[in-house]
Symmetry: C2
DNA sequence: ACCAATGGTTCATTTAATGAACCGACGAGT
DNA sequence: ACTCGTCGGTTCATTAAATGAACCATTGGT
């Protein structure tokens, strides 16, 4: 691994539960030498990717990442485009909707919308890491990802977030085949208890899956009517988002729209 | 300069006018060896910071920066906090408002709001680079930055974006003194012609200036009434934003509020 | 007063970065 | 069809930078 990759890998230890990390913690987390971590973090700091708090000298992500994200959005405006799609989707379904994107071998939730219709909602956080198994978004992505990638994921130890999480690779493979037939993934309580969620894949111009669009509802609210309405709205929203970012679904993606 | 800094410096060549850059262009822009650029970009690509387009193999910023920006916002929610402040400010003034943040020695516009009141508006782009001289935001930041930093900026060649741009360092120093007295910066046509803008500095918990909040209006709409209303609204908005991000103004910052 | 943390620094050793030259492919111009 | 220039990508001897064990100075808790 090159020096640059090592430095950037240090940034992967930041997450919602850990927005600030001290030098020693970072050394332990990364397994690198303390002097190495110190110098790498210094370089990252000089470039504005991280900054040190005045109080306890712990590191946190720096303002430079905001500039880069704004430029990424200028080049590939997937988040800004998704916001309108998500708003419409939440309005239509009355439930929380969110977009997750595949980044390397990690799936991150990066944009979401709520519906004002119901007081109880499934809450979302941006940049939250989703597991592939157990989430409808993860399964939707896995079903349309490179087979090698899917197998790599399934060959790793699969933890159970809830008692309902399906962790048997064979059962998951069977589910993935089902998703490829229907074009939509469903998960009931596999990631958070009592959350019923649907997801459809989103594709780029090379017809590769780049993420998933999902609707998450409290299981108690999943009436027969909603079980019809949500998948239909989601399919439409997925097709819209894929289209608006210049993407195309692969030839084998089931289209039940009269487009 | 370390390898990591070199790699990250490659990312600085991306901007609104240049969202995709090929290997050879990047080599020329950076002045580095082509093989070096190639390997550095490969590492950045492996980490998801850049990606190559399938069509012409040019590089553009990758999805990983979105995750980092979301986490930065989770740690220091300045953009999300600013959005409400900007909306209120634009509603109140009827004009375009925007927030710019100091990143290293560069000032970037990173969040903005429009008012629906008027059909003609000053348009803004996120991640746009602002000059220090000639913009009200830049002058507001410079007035409260470290004196060394201000002098470094003023010692560089100062270009004139418009015939009205003031480029004489002595005149600028005099203006900065005036801004420190009043707490607000004004620019008329110094960056874009016929744009009249006001700006106030924004401070962090260490009482250091981190950026500026500004209102930009077509010069034709700057009535006597607006010349009263905008500075007043801006001062209030600046104090609110500084406060909401946990910051404090330095002791010598003029407070004309009965707080 | 002590101990165990913390962030930060040093310097001989090792390892990785570097760059000139090279390759094959593509496209424009003749 | 042939060059010419440029593109992205690759090679390998040379060089420069990254590394890590040990060390220092502070801090906070007992």
């Amino acid at each position: 691994m090159g020096t640059v990759s090592k430095a950037l890998s240090l940034l992967t230890f930041f997450n919602h539960g850990r927005t600030g990390i001290g030098l020693s913690d970072l050394t332990r987390l990364s397994g690198m030498n303390k002097a190495t971590v110190y110098r790498l973090m210094n370089e990252l700091q000089e470039s504005g990717f991280v900054e040190q708090t005045g109080s306890d000298r712990s590191y946190r992500l720096g303002p430079q990442v905001l500039r880069l994200a704004a430029l990424r959005e200028a080049a590939v405006p997937i988040l800004s485009v998704s916001r309108q799609v998500l708003r419409d989707l939440s309005d239509e379904t009355g439930e929380t909707s969110h977009l997750s994107l595949l980044q390397g071998s990690q799936l991150n939730s990066l944009s979401h919308a709520y519906s004002p219709r119901n007081a109880t909602r499934v809450m979302m956080e941006d940049a939250k890491v989703l597991t592939f198994h157990g989430t409808s978004s993860g399964m939707a992505v896995l079903a349309y990802a490179e087979p090698d990638f899917a197998e790599t994921i399934l060959s790793q130890p699969l933890g159970a977030r809830t008692p309902e999480t399906i962790t048997d690779p064979q059962k998951i493979r069977a589910q993935l085949a089902g998703i490829r037939k229907s074009g939509i993934a469903v998960s009931v309580g596999g990631f958070e208890e009592d959350v019923h969620s649907h997801a459809v894949p989103v594709f780029d111009p090379d017809r590769k899956v780049i993420g998933a669009l999902a609707v998450a509802a409290p299981a108690s609210r999943m009436t027969a009517e909603q079980k019809q309405l949500i998948p239909a709205a989601l399919r439409r929203a997925g097709a819209t988002l894929t289209h608006r970012i210049g993407g195309s679904a692969p030839a084998d993606y089931p289209q039940d729209e009269t487009a």
